[in-house]
């Protein structure tokens, strides 16, 4: 039988991988993807807690997940728009080369 | 009447009878496998018939015979095509990304087949009755875009990449009006379950069925849905992802042999799936068009409607020339999208206005007037729609 901890561990693993990606990759798009993965891990947590919680009929977890997906989609759209603007400005999406504010 | 019911339900009965032979533990699985295999066989056969119908029909529209060599009247042409596709050499470009190149057609066909899981083919004959069936349909359809991109990108050819980019841009643009057109039905039906939506339409006032297409908003929604569905399945006049004249064949240039056949199957299965969805949402699914025609089996009605819609697709392909990319985008964002939004308003009014001719008048005006205005103001790159002048040819 799958218990809650299985889901939570999986979600923690996804979160960690997303974080590792966001920290190690240098391409802005992949950093964004890493952040999306971390958001998704949180969503999995929400759903799992909802399903294993005492009041699944309250739909709280599902609602949270739906809003979270919506916000994540908006974030992705704006983020990718920003990356496009960045690319137009600097001709690169390599975050190590974006050093205009370093002084 | 009982005999009609028996004929109507014969596949369901047969399924139960066959499944009874396996142990109780495996029964759900056996039932599912049986259903899936039946759907695959039936729709692949229908695919073959559609191809034949299309080639014959297009030929007749252009005053040609169409295929008439293989078998009597050429009815074995799809078999010949299939054999040819299978025994043909499978050429993969040297620089292609082999794994992705292989996965793309598979993904497209799998996604096309998954669509049929929620289509009620007859009374009690849907593979699954998902709570969110309509949503499932659109979620799966959106996977096709990914397959298209994979095909175009993995081939490492500029034409296929252009084709893929065009196809994705087009499919994203037309997915929005398609979803919104479907939303109108969902609003009135109050459910996302395809089975429930069909059951709601399968009642009659006198002889007239309660199909959603027989309302102002339903008719508009149906037309908008079909236009968007044509674009979604990359059919003429929206077939510029494969535009032979400029980018050879679009995203599947670099495919040959059976993989090409898979793309072909995927395209037709997608077209049939969207048609089936239009039938489910607007044309009353498996219900008979008149109350006195209910003796005919429900699955029969479904397939009659499906073939009729497919003929409509073929007719349109035989008639309309291909759009230009900017025209395509303008049409989607400046005409279809506003129309669907207006249609949603009309649907909401229809839901809450009292029954009567005023409801018809208000909702009808609400879709006809914007149609006329939008159609008038639609702008093809700075020029109004007008009779085309050929500056040098005349």
């Amino acid at each position: 039988m799958t218990t809650l901890s299985h889901y939570l561990l999986l979600s923690a693993l996804i979160f960690a991988v997303g974080m590792a990606g966001a920290l190690t990759r240098r391409n802005a798009i992949l950093v964004l993807v890493g952040i999306e993965l971390m958001l998704n891990a949180a969503n999995l947590n929400l759903i799992a807690f909802w399903r294993y919680g005492p009041h699944p009929e309250a739909l709280t977890g599902v609602m949270f997940a739906v809003f979270s997906i919506t916000v994540a989609a908006a974030e992705a759209a704006v983020g990718l728009g920003l990356i496009l603007a960045l690319h137009r400005h600097m001709q690169t999406t390599d975050l190590d080369k974006v050093t205009g504010m370093k002084g | 009447m009982t005999r009609a019911v028996a004929v109507d339900q014969m596949f369901v009965t047969l399924n139960h009878a066959l499944v009874a032979y396996v142990p109780a533990v495996w029964r759900p699985l056996a039932s599912a496998v049986l259903g899936v295999v039946t759907v695959m066989v039936v729709f692949l056969t229908l695919f073959a018939l559609t191809v034949l119908l299309e080639r014959k029909g297009l030929g007749r529209m252009q005053n040609r015979y169409g295929p008439n060599r293989v078998g009597p009247w050429g009815i074995l042409q799809p078999v010949a095509d299939g054999i040819k596709a299978i025994i043909k050499e499978d050429v993969v470009p040297q620089s292609a990304d082999h794994a992705v190149h292989f996965l793309a057609p598979v993904l497209i066909v799998v996604a096309a087949f998954l669509n049929y899981a929620v289509i009620p083919v007859g009374r009690g004959m849907a593979l699954t009755d998902l709570n969110a069936g309509v949503l499932f349909f659109f979620a799966i359809s959106s996977m096709v875009e990914l397959g298209v991109f994979m095909a175009g990108w993995a081939s490492r050819s500029k034409y296929s990449l252009f084709g893929a980019m065009r196809a994705i841009a087009q499919m994203i643009s037309y997915e929005v009006p398609m979803l919104l057109a479907a939303t109108a039905t969902v609003m009135v039906a109050g459910t996302l379950s395809t089975t429930r939506i069909v059951e709601m339409q399968a009642t009659y006032t006198g002889q007239i069925p309660h199909w959603f297409v027989l309302t102002p908003w339903g008719f508009t929604g149906f037309c908008l849905f079909m236009v968007a569905a044509t674009a979604e399945s990359n059919r003429s006049p929206f077939d510029l992802p494969e535009g032979e004249s400029e980018i050879v064949a679009g995203y599947f240039i670099e495919y040959s042999g059976f993989k090409f056949a898979l793309f072909f199957i995927g395209e037709y299965l997608g077209m049939m799936a969207t048609s089936a969805m239009a039938i489910t949402l607007f044309l009353g699914g498996w219900s008979a068009p008149l109350a006195c025609l209910q003796w005919f089996p429900t699955w029969g009605w479904f397939f009659v409607k499906l073939v009729a819609l497919l003929c409509g697709f073929i007719w349109m392909r035989g008639t309309l020339p291909r759009l230009r990319m900017d025209q395509l985008m303008n049409f989607s964002w400046k005409f279809l999208l506003p129309m669907t939004l207006v249609n949603l308003v009309a649907t909401g009014l229809w839901r809450f206005l009292p029954v009567g001719w005023e409801r018809w008048l208000i909702c009808g005006a609400l879709v006809v007037v914007p149609y006329a205005l939008l159609g008038r103001s639609i702008n093809w790159q700075g020029r109004k729609v007008a009779v085309r002048r050929y500056r040098y040819a005349e």
Binding site: L4, S5, L10, I47, R51, M63, F67, V78 | A139, T191
Partner: protein, 165 residues
């Protein structure tokens, strides 16, 4: 642990890890869609049908395609990944530490032993009703946010340089 969960977990993890470690950006995004699809399946397994299908629609059909478009339009490529550099090592160490911390917290909290209660009635209709009643304010705010994001993304992506728009 059931077989279904195990398979889905492995597929999802494979997709996610590949998305973060493959060299070619397009491969990364394709692997990412695998991860997203796996997550959607996990939602479906948890009987959150609506969320699962929305996940599929939004992430596989939307975000992944958007990312692909961004990669194609920016001609993005990354210099060869360099495992072993301090940069890479630091990221991995931090991520591992976070994972260990989370795992530890999960083990300690004691919620993990919970087993699945009976299937809830939470259908799509209930979600719709909830959205329109108790969650109406968040819904409106999200609608506003999406509009703002839409406009913002268009403004940012078209750029200040092109004066004709």
């Amino acid at each position: 642990m059931t077989i279904g969960f195990l398979i889905l977990a492995i597929v999802t993890m494979a997709g996610v890890v590949a998305a973060m470690s493959m060299r070619h950006l397009i491969h990364c995004v394709l692997a990412l869609t695998l991860g997203f699809a796996g997550l959607a399946m996990l939602y479906l397994q948890l009987e959150a049908q609506f969320v699962g299908l929305t996940q599929l629609l939004v992430y596989v059909g939307g975000v992944a395609i958007l990312a692909v478009f961004a990669i194609m339009t920016t001609h993005s490529s990354e210099p060869v990944a360099r495992p072993g550099t301090s940069y890479w090592l630091g990221g991995c160490v931090v991520a591992t530490a976070v994972f260990i911390l989370l795992a530890h917290a999960i083990e300690k909290s004691g919620v993990g032993a919970r087993t699945m209660p009976a299937a809830p009635v939470g259908g799509v209709k209930e979600i719709g009703v909830a959205l329109m009643s108790g969650y109406i304010l968040p819904l409106e705010i999200v609608g506003l946010l999406l509009t703002a994001a839409l406009v913002g993304a268009v403004v940012v992506a078209t750029g200040e340089g092109s004066g004709k728009r």
